[in-house]
């Protein structure tokens, strides 16, 4: 099936070259970082995790979002998703690869990464994260490939594969739960020390993942003559809406707890995110414009989803609302959540984080790698689909 990636219209090759350019820049930037050290980034003693770990956190959600297709299709026999479930599985593969690349980019001593395997430490949440992330990657490659191969031959997939398909469902939940546990089990980091982090992560994941799949379907419809079907898209929108509403609800609960309890530790990070913190006469408010953009995009998208015309009759508005909700959640989780957890630091000082150009280059390079993988995998999936139709 891999041969399907080797044939395509000029636009396909131009797109790959476009992504390749970013990847090349990313590789060059990484070489610089590798030779100099993580001092090439904007991270500091106080904000010791930056863009890499925040992207990782967000992308684990995108990967977990694929389960919103797998679960209805395989558990509830929701046939409408038959054509696009593979898109969810392939998206998960690309997202996990990005996650692993972001973790590698973030390590101070990347050549020692295998120490996590050589010296397994069950008390560390990173140990479990390694297991579930790699497990979920393996499950999606296995299930996606076996089922697509069967589809191509127009036979039923072998029965044993369903064990792995069902297994991938708790794995999808676990990857994001464990990722939440990286944060929510740390004493002294009040913004993260909240039992709602895992449910909130899952809710935003189940909105961001499917939103990306709708965007992909709309693009595939135009460039690859692949129609996911109106009913499938509509169901996905319903899933996104509920998930995004739940996420908004969870975030508002955090705001309530912070402000009503009036406990400084619970309030400061939220204040920093949305209004800025004043400290020794200086205003720290780097993230404020981002967070309000996220709020506007979030409610704007929910409004568009609720409007039947935009949701059902106008593909441009549908795509726009999906892009909006995706960006809203990316800002919320892919920027704000991680950075604000370090403000203020344990000594009640404030250091702001601003990524460097080199860091952005690596980040874009990894995103481009993810898009490249998605493109190639979707090319295969759509190619097989067309082959059957002929």
């Amino acid at each position: 099936m891999i041969e399907k990636t080797l044939k395509g219209k000029p636009a396909y090759w131009i797109w790959l070259a476009f992504l390749g350019m970013f990847i090349a820049v990313g590789v060059a930037c990484y070489a610089r970082q590798y030779l100099f050290g993580l001092g090439m980034t904007g991270m500091s003693r106080d904000v010791s995790w930056g863009l890499y770990i925040s992207q990782f956190t967000f992308l684990v959600g995108v990967a977990a979002g694929g389960v919103m297709l797998v679960l209805p299709y395989y558990v509830h026999d929701f046939k409408v998703f038959g054509k696009i479930t593979i898109l969810g599985e392939f998206l998960a593969i690309a997202a996990i690869v990005m996650c692993l690349l972001f973790i590698m980019a973030d390590l101070g001593q990347p050549t020692r990464a295998l120490n996590v395997v050589f010296h397994p430490t069950p008390s560390s949440m990173l140990f479990y994260d390694m297991i579930v992330l790699n497990g979920y990657l393996f499950l999606n490659i296995l299930c996606g490939w076996v089922i697509l191969t069967a589809e191509r031959k127009q036979v039923h997939p072998p029965k044993w594969i369903y064990f792995f398909v069902y297994l991938s469902i708790p794995f999808a939940v676990s990857i994001h739960t464990v990722t939440a546990m990286l944060y929510c089990g740390l004493p002294g980091r009040h913004f993260w020390l909240s039992a709602i982090i895992a449910p909130r992560f899952l809710a935003s994941a189940f909105a961001a993942g499917p939103a990306l799949i709708i965007i992909a379907c709309l693009i595939l419809k135009r460039v690859a003559n692949f129609d996911a079907g109106k009913k499938a898209m509509d169901k996905l929108v319903t899933i996104i809406m509920y998930a995004a509403i739940l996420n908004t609800f969870f975030v508002l609960l955090e705001v309530f707890v912070g402000y009503y309890s009036n406990m400084p530790g619970h309030k400061h990070s939220i204040e920093y995110l949305f209004f800025g913190l004043e400290h020794h006469g200086h205003m720290y408010n780097n993230l404020v414009p981002f967070m309000w953009t996220s709020v506007v995009l979030n409610f704007g998208a929910l409004g568009l989803f609720a409007w039947p015309y935009a949701r059902k009759k106008n593909e441009f508005l549908l795509g726009l609302s999906c892009v909006m909700i995706f960006f809203a959640l990316w800002i919320d989780k892919g920027l704000g959540f991680v950075f604000a957890g370090f403000v203020p630091n344990p000594l009640d000082e404030i250091t702001e984080y601003i990524p460097t150009a080199n860091e952005l280059g690596i980040t874009l390079g990894i995103w481009a790698t993810g898009f490249l993988i998605v493109t190639l995998l979707y090319k295969i999936a759509v190619g097989v689909e067309h082959e059957i139709e002929e």
């Binding site: 980034t41 500091s44 003693r45 390590l107 101070g108 010296h119 002294g188 000594l347």
Partner: protein, 275 residues
């Protein structure tokens, strides 16, 4: 320093040093150390819980420190001397930007060191004197729990939270986990920034985390921690075994009211402050 005390430091140090180089050794010797800890906690000799007979419990050692801020208020230069001694002993690089800085022992105002305590109408002396800040060598350290490679670990024989710089992968999970901001990361090669090189202690490479080690390497030679030695004769920093009722530090703790940094987190810090 009397002979008995020197011997104790030596014993504590040998195990500390062994711990730095080979956690496996610590694991071998942990059975008795753990048992004695339990005994100390419950106030009676440890009993064999897992069937195997345990030797008559040796004194379980948990190293700790009392910082007497009254003394430092009188002589603020003591803290500067202690910090300088620490920097010289451990090849701590001196960066001129805040972003890259590496700190083992440093100073900060009361309000920053104790953000959960009230600073409202603070006594003038307390407000104006900088406090010593260092790793708390917690009995229940969140950094050790978080580390995915056991590169940071609690030496069971003496309670020091130590680091293996050669195992650390630089994921900085421990830095997020430490509620005291005690850990630093080598964002770049630190060697060009070491002012005075001490060949008796390794310098670090870039990409690893480091922090105060309670001078495990000096204890092994029967010496006191560098900061304690720098304040010798003043009683500003007292170091010793928290589990030994006869130790100087315990007698001081029995006598004086002390506070610990954010003890509500359940980390059980081993550093105490007399304010």
């Amino acid at each position: 320093m009397d002979k008995q005390r020197r011997n104790f430091l030596k014993i504590a140090g040998v195990t500390a040093l062994a711990g730095i180089g080979a956690p496996a050794f610590v694991r071998l010797s942990s059975a008795s150390a753990l048992a004695s800890e339990q005994g100390a906690a419950e106030g009676h000799a440890a009993e064999a819980v897992h069937g195997a007979p345990v030797e008559a419990a040796p004194q379980g050692v948990r190293l700790g420190m009392v910082i007497d801020m009254r003394k430092i208020t009188e002589q603020p230069e003591l803290l500067d001397k202690a910090i300088a001694a620490c920097i010289d002993a451990h090849n701590i690089p001196q960066f001129d930007n805040r972003k890259s800085e590496i700190k083992w022992l440093w100073k900060a105002p009361f309000a920053n060191v104790f953000p959960v305590e009230s600073s409202y109408h603070l006594a003038k002396d307390v407000k104006e004197t900088d406090f010593a800040v260092l790793c708390n060598h917690c009995d229940n350290p969140p950094c050790v729990r978080a580390c995915p490679t056991k590169a940071t670990f609690r030496v069971k024989a003496n309670g020091i939270v130590a680091m293996d710089f050669h195992r650390c992968i630089g994921c900085r999970f421990c830095m997020a986990a430490c509620p005291y901001g005690a850990r630093s990361f080598n964002w770049e090669d630190p060697r060009p920034y070491i002012k005075k090189y001490n060949k008796d202690f390794p310098s670090r490479m870039r990409g690893v985390v480091e922090k105060c080690n309670f001078c495990g390497e000096r204890l092994a030679l029967g010496q006191e921690p560098a900061c304690v030695e720098a304040c010798q004769g003043t009683g500003a920093i007292v170091f010793g075994d928290l589990n030994d009722a006869q130790s100087e530090i315990r007698q001081l703790l029995d006598k004086e009211f002390t506070i610990q940094r954010n003890a509500a987190l359940g980390t059980k810090p081993s550093v105490f402050y007399i304010v």
